[in-house]
């Protein structure tokens, strides 16, 4: 499974757990738009940390960097050794 599909599936799972079954484009805002809450951002942080070895305490945290499937993929590609 490639990176984007993996991230997309994870985000869809979070949205689904919140009863949100609407469309999700890769560039759609999920946090700043209010579709997901702060506690869901925590889930994304843990997912990125545990799956891709990224330490937000070192790279700096900003919700914009995990605000869409595209943003998360960009962050992972820029800061990890993911291939």
């Amino acid at each position: 499974m490639n990176l984007k599909s993996r991230v997309r599936d994870f985000i869809r799972g979070l949205l689904s757990a919140n009863g949100d079954t609407g469309d999700l484009a890769d560039h759609d805002s999920i946090l700043i738009s209010g579709r997901l809450q702060s506690i869901d951002a925590v889930e994304i942080v843990v997912f990125v940390e545990e799956s891709f070895g990224i330490d937000f305490a070192k790279v700096g945290f900003d919700r914009e960097r995990i605000d869409s499937v595209d943003a998360i993929c960009t962050l992972i590609e820029a800061t990890s050794q993911y291939h």
Binding site: D20, A57, E64
Partner: protein, 474 residues
């Protein structure tokens, strides 16, 4: 199969249960293409501004004050390309406009200048210790300033200057915190919006609505159509705020005027003096306190966000259907969104990203606890700095015991609520729509026993009063 109803306020797209879920008291005028097109024309803009100004009179009786708000909004509406510049000028003008005397003016200008210098320092040296922990450093600085003010000789010039500085910093503190945490956001070095958010046009409370410049950049209307839609949503929200405010007035007349139900402080005082109100009245008083607080926060928050939207920022509402919350943490999120966001951004994430990384549940709980117990307590102590000036540091900390206890209970409850594994939503509509919200509201209603901000009574008195609500004599 349910229909998909996009929720314009929360942004979520949930399965609705039919036509009823699409019902709205105020119609979705921003979704009507003809209206949106009309509002982009000069006549439409003028009519929209006139309607908004007329409604605003309900909340702002002073014509001069209203003019000082509506004039920049009118300029932004007709010249949106100068929005950031206009908003950046407002805080400086307001400083001169609202300063009571030359000392207050000097304090405000010094705080604004210091904030800009700190912002520049954070941007220039992003890897320095200060830039990596700007909130902790700023809060430490504010605490040090307060301690120094506490030991200044009474009624001396130092005393006056220091306490004026404390008061001024208290009102700017969280706005500056947001500006300094912009270090990690993109794009950087946008001084106009940073300045605009230090004392925003929409007259925020001590809590920054809607957060800082980084957030504003993301929700700013970029096209005439987006501006029209955002402003129409602002108008709608102000209408809703007015309806709630009228309802609130009638509510007060009915329950406190006609039915003479005492406030919680009055009920507490009656119990203290050995003449307690009947149990039913005490419970009524408690329920009213909770409901009135929720209503009041909604009215105030809607006014501020309505103004913010008129300035071209599509901000989420501060309160969004809190009474329908099915968990304690959901209510906390829906009741006072921007205060919760302040705690999350400035306390929760910095703690969560640093501590207990290998213990996931403990990590979440600890960060929640720090955010609510330390963050909220610091916020309220700084907001109520006059208590410190009047009673001294130690006595005011002691006086805060009841609210501190409330924060501990709230933090524990929200922390545990967040840790509960979220499964599929309850299938029974009665359970989801009635039982779960009722349980959440009951918790917050009881917690309200410790929400008395008068600081007249000790924690023991409040605990005794709480026990009496459940037939227990202490």
């Amino acid at each position: 199969m349910g229909i998909v109803v996009p929720d314009i306020e929360t942004g979520s797209k949930k399965n609705g249960s039919g036509a009823a879920s699409g019902f709205r008291i105020i119609p979705r005028i921003e979704a009507h293409a003809g209206i949106v097109t009309f509002v982009q024309r000069p006549l439409g803009k003028a009519l929209l501004l006139a309607a908004f100004a007329l409604l605003l009179r309900f909340f702002v009786p002073d014509l001069g004050v209203e003019r000082s708000v509506m004039l920049p909004i009118a300029l932004i509406t007709f010249f949106p390309e100068y929005r950031r510049f206009i908003l950046a000028v407002v805080p400086i003008v307001l400083v001169f406009h609202v300063a009571a005397d030359s000392l207050a003016l000097g304090a405000s200008l010094s705080v604004l200048t210091t904030a800009m210098i700190l912002y520049a320092a954070v941007m220039k040296w992003p890897d320095s210790g200060f830039a990596r922990r700007p909130v902790a450093t700023l809060l430490f600085g504010f605490t040090a300033l307060t301690v120094v003010a506490c030991v200044a000789p009474l009624h001396s010039l130092y005393y006056r200057v220091l306490w004026t500085l404390v008061g001024t910093w208290a009102s700017y503190l969280w706005f500056v915190c947001y500006a300094l945490t912009d270090r990690s956001s993109m794009p950087k070095r946008d001084l106009t919006l940073e300045l605009a958010t230090l004392r925003p046009l929409w007259n925020s409370t001590f809590t920054p609505f809607p957060k800082g410049a980084a957030y504003l950049r993301r929700i700013e209307a970029q096209t005439p159509q987006e501006l029209a839609v955002t402003q129409l949503k602002g108008l709608k929200l102000l209408v809703w705020a007015m309806m709630l405010a009228i309802f609130e007035q009638w509510w007060f007349r009915l329950f406190h005027g006609y039915l003479r139900i005492p406030s919680t402080v009055e009920a507490l005082t009656m119990s203290m003096h050995g003449t307690p109100a009947p149990l039913l009245v005490r419970w009524e008083s408690q329920a009213l306190f909770f409901f009135e607080l929720t209503l009041n926060f909604a009215v105030i928050g809607h006014q501020i966000i309505a103004l913010c939207r008129m300035a071209g920022f599509n901000a989420l509402r501060n309160s969004c259907r809190p009474l329908s919350s099915t968990t304690i943490s959901e209510f906390f999120n829906r009741f006072y969104f921007y205060f919760k966001e302040l705690l999350v951004d400035l306390f929760f994430y910095p703690t969560f990203l640093r501590y207990f990384k290998r213990h996931r549940r403990l990590r979440t709980f600890f960060a929640t606890f720090v955010a609510i117990v330390f963050g909220s307590s610091f916020f309220h102590l700084a907001r109520d700095w006059q208590f410190i000036q009047r009673d001294g540091l130690w006595k005011s900390l002691i006086g805060y015991q009841v609210l501190f206890f409330q924060n501990v209970i709230l933090a524990t409850a929200v922390g545990l609520s967040q840790l509960r594994k979220r499964g599929p939503k309850a299938s029974s509509i009665f359970r989801r729509r009635v039982l779960q919200p009722a349980g959440v509201l009951f918790f917050y209603c009881v917690l309200g026993v410790f929400g008395d901000e008068s600081r007249l009574y000790t924690l023991g008195v409040h605990l005794k009063y709480l026990a009496s609500l459940f037939f227990i004599r202490l």
